[in-house]
């Protein structure tokens, strides 16, 4: 005897969605959801594992590329020092991460004055931004406060600072390596769980890892250049506002774009702009006028009704033609 579960079987659930002439009735958006399936579990576990293992295998050449990149940019940017490597170890894994030896300096009076000027300008401009620009005003105020705290610290404290430029850059790159390896799992649990096609899931993972592989060394070089030029005074702002947070927002932006892709799956059923169906007739010539017979085949109304409608339509067209002729 069948067990009473209180839940309709999949066959019954699917039958509920079959509409007139075999079409599909899109469920209300309040009722829609995703079913757990084996393919989903594969997307959640196998795909990210493949990506993460591949990334682990590729880490050595990627970080070697970062080192070449730093060396290539060092001279044009006017940065002193040399680029060596340091091994970051996590359990059995280890990877040589570029280690840049250029040192920055404790802020001088001129740097502090410039910093105070920028902090005050940011905060003051932020106070005066209103209307549509209000969020920008809040952002400027927040940045002004962060910079002001840094200013106070460097005014009151004495050298040395807790971090130097090489350690800072090394930390940023270590974070980048960790994110590169972990990001496939973030993609899996936030993107792959949706009803996207396998190709879309692969593309999102590839895009993110390719983007981060390029962004992280670029970000590190930019930070190094700013801190070297503007003294250690610039480090707190870069760390808090334009480091990890910035990398996160790269994923948010990419994710937002990916989530807007059409999947063709169950979640597309409630889309407010449904896909345009394939035209049944070529668009460069008018659709044939339905005959009573053809309409009869697809509608429950009788042939007499169709004939009457046709006759009415023809009468209306003639009347309209006559009116147009008069005018």
């Amino acid at each position: 005897m069948a067990r009473v579960t209180g839940r309709p079987s999949r066959r019954v659930s699917q039958a509920r969605e079959v509409g007139f002439r075999g079409g599909r009735i899109a469920p209300h958006r309040a009722m829609i959801g995703i079913e757990v399936s084996w393919t989903l579990l594969i997307d959640l576990l196998v795909l990210p594992s493949i990506f993460a293992i591949t990334m682990l295998l590729l880490l050595e050449p990627i970080t070697a590329g970062w080192r070449l990149f730093f060396e290539a940019l060092r001279t044009p940017l006017g940065l002193p020092g040399v680029v060596s490597t340091r091994v970051f170890e996590a359990g059995p894994f280890g990877v040589a991460i570029p280690y840049y030896t250029a040192a920055s300096y404790w802020p001088e009076t001129r740097d502090l004055a410039t910093g105070w000027f920028l902090a005050i300008v940011a905060f003051t401009v932020g106070l005066f931004l209103r209307g549509r620009l209000l969020p920008l005003g809040y952002l400027l105020r927040a940045l002004g406060i962060v910079q002001a705290v840094a200013q106070l610290w460097f005014t009151l404290a004495s050298p040395p600072f807790a971090y130097d430029l090489p350690a800072y850059m090394n930390g940023l790159l270590v974070y980048g390596v960790v994110i590169l390896v972990l990001s496939p799992f973030l993609v899996a649990f936030t993107f792959n769980i949706f009803d996207f096609r396998l190709s879309q899931k692969l593309l999102m993972g590839l895009l993110l890892q390719a983007h981060l592989s390029v962004l992280i060394p670029l970000l590190a070089v930019l930070h190094a250049w700013i801190i070297y030029r503007a003294s250690l005074l610039a480090m707190p702002m870069l760390f808090f506002a334009f480091g990890v947070l910035f990398v996160l927002f790269v994923y948010v932006a990419l994710y937002g774009w990916g989530m807007s892709w059409r999947s063709g799956g169950v979640l597309d059923a409630t889309d407010r702009r449904p896909p345009t169906p394939e035209p049944r007739y070529p668009l460069n010539r008018p659709r044939p006028t339905p005959t009573p017979g053809s309409v009869r085949a697809i509608t429950p109304i009788g042939t007499g009704v169709v004939r009457a409608l046709n006759a009415g339509g023809q009468l209306m067209r003639r009347l309209a033609w006559r009116d147009w002729g008069r005018s």
């Binding site: 009722m31 969020p135 920008l136 809040y138 705290v149 974070y175 960790v178 937002g256 892709w261 059409r262």
Partner: protein, 428 residues
């Protein structure tokens, strides 16, 4: 100095723990909404012995929007003999009263306005006075800018066929989405809040929140918990907590959608969210201890959800404290070395933890079929930033934590174009 660093260290980890709990909650609710079984009690009932229903529409200077609301209510398919519409004018200085009298003259059996010129001002006081005069079994409340659909009243009343249900809440959908960056962001936030957050709480039998509009309460339940608290800054949260403490269920009906007008200017948005924050914090102060002490009568998950619900507007304060502690530790040189565990913990928290809210909003919009709107996701940061400042300021205000203070009508500005063609925007 070492004491300050030790305190900052403790403070940072406490803040990180609180934020991590909320992040886990975001993920859990989103996954439940995506994969869970959805509870929508009696939502498809169309023929029944419908109970007597009174619909209240509190209004204070609402001449720009109240006609649309009353027109929509008049076309609802609830049996006419069981339905009374009671718009409440509370000391309006514009044409609201004249409009209500005009409608009452045209529909004398259906619209019975209540005109208030004295007594305590405010929505809660207005509702308290109105409910004393009517003896319907069910009371529904709509703000004056809301436009209910034809079937909405039946959908909202249907859950009350379950005698344990004390209150019901429908879904709020922004009407004026495409007007500005702010309205688009609020659309995303509302989607996350209702499509995912409220529905997951409903699925999990936790505490869906009665939101004060597009919802209602059973008269018996309201009397049981002592009626409306007229000194409450957020009468909806206050009532939700009291009902739950008294053992009544609160139901969220995700299919019962009603359009509202969201703020179109950041200034109006800040005032709105500060009002919500003060009211929520007031409820936190009033009921947290009762909620925790009552834990033996409720499942642990419900107790935890209630605490997190009450504390949701204190989170920005936690965030600010967490940032302050982090900055102090950064300047002090903590952590002294990059340990592997520290790197992994910080990396994971910064990415996975901070991403939780974005995930929830994106999932909700995807379910809603608002695919292309998800491209606005990064801009939510601006909304979060403004909310953090605004709610943080409200969280340290006197009204949040200290008793007393005058109760006034604090309502959101209206922006809808009036029928005469002029555009609104004046503060009301």
């Amino acid at each position: 100095m070492s004491t300050a660093i030790a305190l900052a260290n403790i403070g940072m980890w406490v803040c990180v723990t609180v934020l991590a709990i909320y992040a886990v909650r975001h993920y859990f609710f989103t996954l439940n909404r995506l994969f869970g079984r959805h509870r929508q009690p009696f939502v498809d009932v169309v023929r029944a012995d419908w109970p007597s229903l009174v619909v209240f529409v509190p209004a204070h200077n609402e001449s720009q929007v109240i006609r649309d609301s009353l027109d929509a209510l008049l076309t609802c398919d609830y049996p006419e003999e069981q339905l009374t519409i009671v718009p409440i004018d509370d000391r309006s200085k514009d044409d609201t009263r004249e409009i209500l009298l005009e409608y009452a003259a045209n529909y004398p059996d259906r619209i019975k306005p209540l005109l208030r010129d004295d007594g305590i001002p405010g929505k809660a006081a207005a509702l308290a006075e109105a409910m004393e005069r009517y003896t319907g079994e069910i009371f529904l409340v709509f703000d004056a800018d809301y436009i209910p659909g034809v079937r909405l009243l039946k959908q909202l009343v249907a859950p009350f066929f379950d005698p344990e249900v004390g209150a019901v809440m429908g879904r709020v959908v922004p009407l004026n989405v495409g007007l500005s960056l702010l309205t688009r962001l609020l659309d995303l936030e509302r989607a996350g809040g209702y499509q995912v957050d409220q529905q997951a709480r409903m699925n999990l039998r936790l505490v869906p929140q009665y939101g004060g509009t597009v919802g209602g309460v059973r008269r018996v339940a309201l009397e049981h918990v002592g009626g409306w608290k007229i000194d409450s800054l957020a009468e909806d949260t206050d009532l939700t907590v009291r009902l739950a403490l008294a053992g009544w269920d609160v139901v969220y009906q995700n299919r019962s959608e009603c359009y509202e007008e969201v703020p179109e200017t950041w200034e109006a948005r800040i005032r709105q969210i500060q009002r919500w924050a003060k009211g929520h914090n007031q409820a936190l102060r009033r009921y947290l201890s009762a909620w925790v002490l009552n834990r033996s009568h409720m499942p642990f998950a419900k107790v935890l959800d209630g605490v997190l619900l009450l504390g949701v507007f204190a989170v920005p304060l936690v965030l600010v404290v967490g940032w302050a502690c982090t900055m102090l530790l950064f300047f002090a040189g903590y952590p002294p070395a990059w340990g592997v565990f520290t790197v992994l913990a910080i990396s994971t928290f910064n990415t996975v933890g901070n991403f939780a809210a974005f995930f929830q909003v994106a999932a909700a919009s995807r379910i809603d079929g608002s695919r292309e709107r998800i491209r606005m996701l990064p801009f939510l940061f601006l909304g979060f930033l403004v909310s953090t400042f605004a709610v943080g300021r409200a969280a340290v205000s006197r009204a949040s934590w200290i008793r007393g203070g005058p109760v006034v009508w604090q309502k959101t500005e209206r922006f809808r174009t009036t029928r005469t063609g002029s555009t609104g925007g004046g503060k009301s």
